[in-house]
Structures are given as C-alpha cells and as structure tokens.
C-alpha cells in the first residue's frame, strides 16, 4: 500500500529559483528520510528528521517535519543544475523497538533545473 504521498511528481524550475517538495503520510512518522537519486545511480542519503517541528539544513537544502509528524517538506533555495535528480522521502511508520525496521517510500519527485 502507498503510505507516503509525494508532490509534485515532477518539477521544472529555472536556475536560481526556490522550490519545495512535500511528503505526506496518513500515519505518524517516527523517522522521515530524504534521499536524492541521479539517473542510473543509487539513493544518496540527505537528511533524517525525527522530532515534531524539527528542521535541518545542508548547504541550500532545508527539510522540515511538522508538529504532528505527518508531513515533511524539502526546500531548495537558489536551485542549481547540480540539484537535478529524483528526490524520495522514506519513513519509519513503526515505533522505535520494532523488529521490522523497514522504510516506506513515496514515488519520488523528478526535479529538472534549467540554466
């Protein structure tokens, strides 16, 4: 079952513009992970959020987890061609202590940045 909804499915922006990708769940998120994937390559871990209201930044990318821990956003400031790729959110929907440890993933957002 698709437990994580990502939007938009694709995004085309001009270099220098800001953009936001959203990830929404119907269940409480005990951990929310953002990954980036370039075509033909594996998933590169970007950031992980656990606490409601938490916000993390790395270079020009900022990720937030809302207070209810059911929605996360990934914001890129002043986008560059190097930001292009597929962004995926993955989430733990089981509490710490679970023996399963699997992540559920959204379907991804394809980002294109044109110069």
């Amino acid at each position: 079952s698709q437990e994580l909804e990502q939007s938009p499915q694709s995004l085309i922006v001009q270099e220098g513009k800001n953009l936001t990708i959203n990830c929404t769940s119907s269940k409480t998120l005990y951990g929310l992970y953002w990954y980036k994937q370039k075509y033909g390559e594996g998933l590169i871990f970007l950031m992980m959020l656990q606490k409601g209201g938490e916000e993390k930044s790395h270079e020009k990318i900022t990720a937030k987890l809302d207070e209810k821990k059911q929605q996360s956003s990934l914001h890129i400031t002043a986008s560059q061609p190097s930001h292009a790729g597929i962004y995926l959110c993955g989430a733990d929907t089981s509490a710490r202590g679970s023996t399963l440890g699997r992540l559920y993933f959204g379907r991804g957002t394809q980002l294109t940045v044109w110069p």
Binding site: Y33, G40, G42, L43, I44, L88, G90, L100, G101, G108
Partner: protein
C-alpha cells in the same frame, strides 16, 4: 569502508533463465533489504532480513528467493526470470532500529527479454 555494494551492475536475461544478485555491506548492519524500482511505482520491498540466517517476505516477493547465510551478504535469486521482473534492484541496509539511516547500494539494472 565500501558501504553497500551490489553485483552485477547490469544484466540481460532471457525468459526462464536464473540468476543471483549479490549484496554486500561492511558496516556490520543487522537489517538488509531488497527493493525494486519501477517507473511510477517508487520503491517496493521484495524481501528483507533482520539478521543472519533470517529472511522474510516484503510487498512483492513472488518469483524471488533470498538467503542471508552471512551477516554481511544478502542474496536475491530469480529462479525463472520473467519480463515482469525487468527492473532496477536496490539493496539497502541499516544498523537496527527506527532512527538509524538506511543506506543503499548503487543498484542492478536487470532486463528480461
């Protein structure tokens, strides 16, 4: 520290052929996973393992088998390949519990003709 590695990177099979995909991790992780990625479908879990000698089914296990004889290796087997198994396969591992990052291998692109 190589992280998670996968072999082979590419493979073309004919319908009915068999093959094994190898995943190896050098991070002493307990949990290992096999996913497949298809356009518009995202990542779907095939099988997973919570420790050496244990395996379990994920969302789409039919047509695949797995083995975890050593903690660092997780093998995915296709006994009789079908065109529907054309996909990109990713292996992943994480140390143990929720809150630990899951790390991915570079993927294996499999085409079944």
């Amino acid at each position: 520290n190589a992280g998670v590695t996968q072999t082979p990177k590419f493979r073309v099979l004919k319908t009915g052929q068999s093959m094994t995909l190898l995943c190896a991790q050098d991070m002493n992780h307990e949990y290992m996973y096999w996913y497949r990625q298809d356009p518009g479908m995202g990542l779907r879990l095939i099988h997973y393992s919570v420790g050496e000698g244990t395996t379990a089914k994920g969302e789409v296990p039919d047509g695949y088998n797995v083995s975890r004889l050593k903690k660092q290796n997780f093998l995915l087997g296709l006994e009789s390949a079908a065109p529907s198994q054309t996909s990109v396969y990713f292996c992943a591992s994480r140390f143990r519990l929720a809150g630990d990052t899951q790390y991915f291998g570079p993927g294996t692109r499999l085409t079944v003709l």
